[in-house]
């Protein structure tokens, strides 16, 4: 059964053995290995285990899909890893063109999407972990679904994999996967309750890159002090990317509402003194120098030397690399996508990809899941812009409200675990930008009340927004003041001003709560031919997709397109 590729499995086996021999409770495995310690036997064992893991994982995934529990990628990974903890290193070492890691707080999915588009235009077979499953189990699942029962990857010949990885998973993945390129895009404050503070993540990454072999090329954002610092002590090759267009400086743009933008890294990572910015593009990204120890932005290898914004979702950038200079149009909304594109270009350069696939890969890019994707519904267009942390949200608002156009909005705030249970961050978002710029505004989500309160304090009058919570407050029901009975009372006063009158098209019996109702309300208020901008947090995006799927509007996101 095991015919070829001897080296990776042996390497994987060595790791297993070391780990397995640690706890005294399982002495049998190393002893038996030592007894018949011939190489072929070991290889066979690991291939058998890998094969078992592949079968088990895929069976679990099929089962989960059959029961409609979800895409089944995560469960596939969980089961496979349980059956063979080193399944990820076992499979990933078989990829002919190796693996690329993409991480950062914001823009992981878009960046890895850009890289995937570039690489497949360059003729490679690109494998990615699925949207949203960027934990170890998702990565394991992505590999396992492409593996054969003998523990080998199918068609691994032209293959390269791109792993979009959660910030906290980086230390684990660098141990398991031999990386050709590691892209670190940015580090913002995100889900303090889950990841800890920004400094904690930065120091974990610092430790993680020490494990990397020198052959791994780091692709780092020169404009983010915490990211650029990772390259300072790295012995291998580093490719920096950044923006070199002074006209984008916030000070030049003179937008007053950007002044109190949240800044997540303000002090020098080396000495703790305050950083001085000669240019700042957004949040803490810019050209910085520490006046105390001299720690400064490294010169970028891949640079955006000029940026012009043609339309809401058309940005023309001129990119200069050591070997090339040319124009590229980024077909996505949002300034942050300039960084995502630069990161992808730098990664492609590190992989020695030609210029043509770089241009075509980016220019023909289709927005990913929740990153500006477009859905047509009943003569209206929905644009979905995920916003999961203050910086991301501020950038979405900047994208939507910088042209002075009035927008139809549906904003959705959830506090499920994947969103982060803490919603305090909404007070750091510049919702003040929205005041008098919304044509209609609908607010929903598990923390709709918190969001409505934030908007109220931003200066949006209660009658200018429709608050649609996910469920009625049960305490008000108990106070014997049901609104349905039409009696004036407490419920009336709560809902009267905030909850919109039932739009005519909505069936009478339907309860005026929840996402589906909120979506109907928002669409109802958006005239035919116009665009409704939906800004959800992460689980809100998932719910929205389920709702749109239910209405037959988007493909199942876990269905991979193409090879």
């Amino acid at each position: 059964m095991p015919e070829k590729k001897p080296s990776p499995p042996v390497e994987g086996e060595g790791r297993t053995r070391r780990r397995k021999s640690d706890p005294p409770s399982s002495p049998s495995i190393p002893t038996r290995q030592a007894a018949n310690g011939k190489r072929p036997a070991k290889r066979q064992r690991s291939s058998l285990r890998a094969g078992l893991a592949v079968l088990g994982g895929r069976a679990a995934g099929a089962f989960s899909r059959r029961l409609h529990l979800g895409g089944g990628t995560s469960i596939t990974g969980i089961v496979a890893q349980r059956l063979y903890p080193d399944i990820v290193s076992h499979l990933s070492t078989q990829l002919a063109y190796g693996s690329v890691l993409v991480t950062g707080t914001n823009g992981k999915t878009t960046t890895s999407g850009f890289i995937a588009a570039i690489l497949s235009d360059a003729g490679l077979r690109v494998w990615r972990n699925r949207e949203g499953s960027n934990l170890m189990r998702g990565i394991a699942g992505a590999l396992v679904i492409r593996a054969q029962p003998n523990g080998n990857l199918r068609r691994s010949g032209q293959a390269i994999s791109i792993f979009e990885v959660d910030e906290a998973v980086v230390p684990q993945i660098v141990q398991k996967v031999p990386l050709r390129v590691a892209v670190f895009n940015n580090l913002f404050r995100d889900q303090l309750d889950r990841y800890g503070e920004v400094d904690t993540v930065a120091s974990r990454w610092q430790q993680a890159i020490r494990v990397l072999p020198e052959s791994t090329i780091l692709v780092l954002n020169a404009d983010d002090p915490a990211i650029a610092h990772l390259g300072k002590s790295y012995p291998g090759k580093v490719v920096y990317f950044g923006i070199d267009d002074a006209s984008l400086d916030l000070a030049v743009q003179g937008n007053s509402s950007d002044r109190h933008q949240t800044i997540d890294t303000r002090t020098c990572i080396q000495c703790g003194s305050d950083l001085t910015y000669t240019m700042r593009f957004y949040s803490h990204l810019g050209h910085y120098i520490c006046s105390n120890c001299g720690n400064a932005r490294p010169p970028a290898d891949v640079r955006a030397i000029s940026v012009t914004i043609n339309a809401f979702d058309q940005m023309r950038i001129t990119v200069a690399t050591p070997t090339q200079q040319g124009e590229i149009v980024i077909p996505l909304p949002g300034f942050y996508n300039i960084y995502n594109a630069l990161a992808a270009i730098a990664a492609a350069q590190a992989l020695q990809i030609n210029w043509e696939p770089i241009v075509s890969g980016i220019q023909q890019f289709k927005p990913a899941f929740g990153r500006g994707e477009r859905v047509q519904i009943g003569g209206r267009t929905i644009r979905i812009l995920l916003a999961k942390n203050p910086t991301g949200f501020n950038e979405v608002l900047r994208t939507l409200f910088s042209e002075g156009e009035k927008r139809h909005m549906l904003v959705m705030l959830n506090d499920n675990i994947a969103d982060g249970r803490d919603v305090s961050w909404i007070w750091d978002v510049d919702f003040e930008r929205m005041v008098r710029h919304t044509e209609t505004l609908t607010v929903t989500g598990t923390r709709a009340f918190d969001l409505a309160l934030r908007l109220k304090y931003a200066g949006i009058a209660a009658q200018d927004m429709q608050l649609i919570p996910i469920a009625p407050l049960s305490s008000t029901n108990k106070s014997a003041l049901p609104a349905r009975a039409g009696k004036p009372g407490l419920r009336g006063s709560i809902s009267g001003r905030t909850i919109v009158e039932r739009p005519a098209s909505i069936p009478r019996g339907k309860r005026p709560y929840g996402l589906a109702y909120a979506l109907d309300t928002a669409l109802q208020q958006t005239p035919t031919g116009e665009t409704l901008f939906v800004v959800p947090t992460y689980t809100g995006l998932l719910e929205l997709h389920r709702e749109l799927e239910r209405r037959g509007l988007t493909p199942h996101y876990w269905e991979e397109k193409g090879p």
Binding site: R189, L192, D193, E197, V198, D199, H260, T262, R266, T267, G272, R421, D422, V423, S424, W425, I426, W427, D428, F449, D450, A452, L453, R454, K456, Y457, A462, L467, P469, L473, S474, S475, T476, K478, S479, A483, G486, P488, L490, G492, S493, I494, G496, R497, T498, E501, R502
Partner: protein, 301 residues
């Protein structure tokens, strides 16, 4: 009709270390105080007190200090002790209302002992101390509700350090959540009119009664007003008084889809409509399973 362009009462809020201690949406607390003052015709000036600035107690009517990351907290602790310590002590002893959230709360107690490294010295305004028991001890994270002053306060807590009270009184009793140390069900600390708490989220927007309580303390202290005078200031509506002729007012109310014009004479309706605030407060209590308290909160309306 009095001259509305120049407020009769003005308050100055000293915001300590807005650039360093701004981690958990502290802006919400400042915005809440500003808005509640503005709508009642009270002038509120917010003055930032950064590193190196001295604190002259006479210049302020109330103080706010938030929380930050550990790295940012260390230089702040030193500056707080050296530059602002005496002024802050004098202010607190003179009954100035002070709100300290999270890291700021820890800095107003005796000391903060990190998981590793030297103790961070605090001001000792609260007879309390904080110990971080190591990175493997789970942080206190989650929604929290406490009983305060016959009512409830709701927020979100996220702290690694455990705070233990000496003689300091707690701000309230934990109904759901961790509180100071996840052991004794106390939350926060009170000394004179200084309030320390782990509740953010932001604290004041969803707890309008606590925001008003702090403002009332400030007005009482700075203008020697009694309770009924403060009640009168809090319930008036300068915007409406200005616009409505001959003591009558009109308002369109929408109930169950029908619009009715409500009118009245003599007194204008209060400037602040806290419906949304209390609904948000109650919805937090419900999420914590505190349905009785949620019902009580809605009776504020």
């Amino acid at each position: 009709m009095n001259d509305n362009s120049k407020p009769q009462f003005t308050l100055t809020l000293g915001h300590l270390y807005p650039d360093q201690l701004n981690l958990y949406g502290d802006r919400g607390n400042i915005l809440t105080l500003q808005r509640r003052c503005q709508l009642r015709g009270i002038g509120l000036r917010v003055v930032s007190l950064g590193i190196g600035d001295a604190l002259a107690p006479d210049e302020y009517d109330l103080l706010f200090i938030g929380g930050g990351q550990d790295k940012e907290q260390a230089p702040v602790a030193q500056d707080l002790y050296e530059m602002k310590g005496i002024g802050l002590w004098a202010a607190v002893e003179d009954d100035m209302p002070v709100l300290a959230v999270c890291g700021g709360y820890q800095l107003l107690a005796h000391y903060y002992r990190p998981a590793s490294g030297a103790d961070m010295r605090g001001l000792g305004i609260f007879d309390a101390w904080t110990i971080h028991k190591g990175i493997h001890v789970p942080r206190c994270i989650g929604d929290i509700a406490i009983a305060w002053n016959g009512s409830t306060l709701v927020g979100f807590e996220n702290h690694g350090g455990r705070t233990y009270l000496g003689t300091a009184k707690p701000l309230g009793k934990v109904l759901k959540g961790h509180g100071n140390n996840a052991e004794d069900r106390t939350e926060g600390a009170v000394y004179r009119h200084a309030y320390g708490t782990y509740l953010h989220g932001s604290l004041l927007p969803k707890n309008p009664h606590f925001a008003d309580y702090l403002l009332a303390l400030a007005l009482q202290r700075s203008y020697q007003l009694n309770d009924s005078e403060i009640m009168e200031i809090f319930s008036r509506n300068p915007l409406l008084e200005d616009r409505v002729e001959s003591g009558t007012w009109k308002r369109v109310e929408r109930k169950n889809g029908a619009s009715t014009v409500v009118s009245g004479t003599l007194t204008a309706p209060p400037a602040l409509d806290d419906t949304l605030e209390w609904t948000a407060h109650a919805s937090m209590l419900e999420r914590l399973g505190l349905h009785h308290a949620a019902g009580a909160a809605l009776r504020h309306l």
